[in-house]
C-alpha cells in the first residue's frame, strides 16, 4: 500500500497541471475531484470531491460546466427503505462558512448528463464549478475504475 501511495505521490508531482489534484479559489478549496470510467453506452456519470470553505460567509455550488457532457447538474442521492432516489438540487449545494461538504458516492454529486464519449479510466475530465460568490473555478476530474466507490488516487 505504501509503495502504491508513494508511486501516486511521485506521479502526481510530475504530472501536467491538467491532472486532478486540489484547487483553490479565494476561501474555497476543492480536493481531489474524481469520477468513474463509464460502461459502454452509458450516458451519465457522477463526479465527487470535497469542498472546504475557510471564509466567514457561506457559498453555494450552483452549476457544473463541462465540454464532455450536454449538461451538468448538482444532485443529491438518498437511500431509504432500500430505495435509491436521486434529485436535482435546484437551489444548489451550500458550502457552510468555516465548513466543508463532501460529494461522494451515495450522497451529493455533480452529474454529467448526456455524455457521448464515455469516460475512460486514467483520463482527465475538464470542468468548471460555478459558485454563487466565488464564481467560476476550473477543475479536472481524475477517472477511476468502473463502479469504484472511492477516489482513485488520494494525495495530500
Amino acid at each position: 500500500m505504501r509503495i502504491i501511495a508513494a508511486t501516486c505521490l511521485a506521479l502526481s508531482l510530475f504530472a501536467a497541471p491538467a491532472v486532478a489534484g486540489d484547487y483553490t479559489s479565494g476561501s474555497l478549496t476543492i480536493e481531489n475531484p474524481w469520477t468513474r470510467a463509464m460502461p459502454p453506452g452509458a450516458k451519465v456519470g457522477g463526479g465527487f470531491m470535497v469542498i472546504t470553505n475557510s471564509g466567514d460567509a457561506a457559498d453555494t455550488l450552483v452549476a457544473l460546466k463541462t465540454p464532455r457532457a450536454d449538461r451538468g447538474e448538482i444532485h443529491e442521492m438518498t437511500m431509504a427503505e432500500g430505495v435509491m432516489k436521486m434529485r436535482e438540487l435546484e437551489a444548489g449545494l451550500e458550502v457552510p462558512a468555516g465548513g466543508s461538504v463532501e460529494l461522494k458516492p451515495g450522497s451529493y454529486h455533480v452529474m454529467f448528463m448526456g455524455v457521448t464519449d464515455g469516460f475512460k479510466e486514467g483520463e482527465t475530465i475538464e470542468g468548471t464549478l460555478v459558485f454563487q460568490n466565488a464564481g467560476e473555478v476550473p477543475i479536472a476530474f481524475t477517472v477511476g475504475p468502473v463502479g469504484g466507490k472511492m477516489a482513485p488516487m488520494k494525495h495530500d
Binding site: 460502461p39 435509491m84 451515495g106 468502473v146 469504484g148
Partner: protein, 203 residues
C-alpha cells in the same frame, strides 16, 4: 383455539415489526429483514415473468430454476448505485471462483424505454460475462417489478429527461425460485459474499 393462536402470533409479528420499524435504523432493519428463512411477510417475492435477455433471447422464470439466482433491478442511466452494485457483484463472482457457475445473476432494467437488449449487452460488457441483462416491453418489465415487489418511480425533470427511483437491494432466490433474502446496497463485502456462498451451498 388454533385460530386464536394464529391471530395472536400474527399480532406479535405485527407489533414486533412495527416496533422494529420505529426503533431500529434502516441498515439494521434491512440486515434483519434480509436474512433468509425469517417469516416477515416480504417473503412472497418472485413469480412468473417473460423478458428478453441481453442477447435478444426470450426468457422466463423457468430459465432461472435449478440454480439459485441473484436479481438486481436498476437502469443504465444511473450514475452511482447501479454501476457500483454491478461492479461489486462482478468482484463477488470472481471471489466465488468456480462456484460462480452455480449461480444465475441478472440485472433487470426498470427503464425498458431506454434500456434495449443491445444497450444492456454493451453496458454489461464492462462487468464480465456472468451477468445476464433482462429487458422487455414496458408491460413485461412491469410484470416482474410487480412480482418482486420492487419499488420503481419515474421522476420527470424539467428538461424532458427523467430519472428512476428504484429498490437497490439484490434479491436472492433459491434453486426452486423461492425468495431467500437480500443483499442491501452498501452491505459489507464479506457479509454479501457470505450470503452468496450460503445461497450457492443451498443453505
Amino acid at each position: 383455539m388454533r385460530a386464536i393462536r394464529w391471530i395472536a402470533w400474527i399480532l406479535v409479528v405485527l407489533v414486533a415489526g412495527t416496533t422494529m420499524a420505529v426503533l431500529v435504523s434502516d441498515d439494521i432493519r434491512d440486515a434483519v429483514l434480509g436474512k433468509p428463512g425469517q417469516g416477515t411477510g416480504i417473503a412472497d417475492i418472485g413469480g412468473p415473468f417473460q423478458l428478453v435477455d441481453h442477447t435478444g433471447k426470450p426468457v422466463t422464470e423457468k430459465d432461472f430454476l435449478g440454480k439459485p439466482s441473484a436479481f438486481f433491478f436498476g437502469f443504465t442511466h444511473c450514475p452511482d448505485v447501479c454501476p457500483t452494485t454491478l461492479y461489486e457483484m462482478s468482484t463477488w463472482l470472481d471471489e466465488l471462483g468456480p462456484d460462480a457457475d452455480k449461480l444465475n445473476v441478472a440485472f433487470v432494467t426498470v427503464d425498458p424505454e431506454r434500456d434495449t437488449p443491445e444497450l444492456m449487452n454493451n453496458y454489461l460488457s464492462a462487468f464480465g460475462d456472468r451477468i445476464t441483462g433482462l429487458s422487455g416491453t414496458p408491460e413485461q418489465v412491469s410484470q416482474i417489478v410487480k412480482e418482486f415487489k420492487v419499488y420503481r418511480r419515474k421522476v420527470e425533470q424539467e428538461d424532458g429527461e427523467y430519472v428512476m427511483d428504484h429498490t437497490a437491494n439484490v434479491y436472492l432466490m433459491d434453486a426452486g425460485g423461492k425468495f431467500a433474502g437480500t443483499i442491501a446496497y452498501g452491505e459489507a463485502d464479506d457479509i454479501a459474499l457470505g450470503k452468496l456462498k450460503r445461497l450457492v451451498a443451498g443453505g
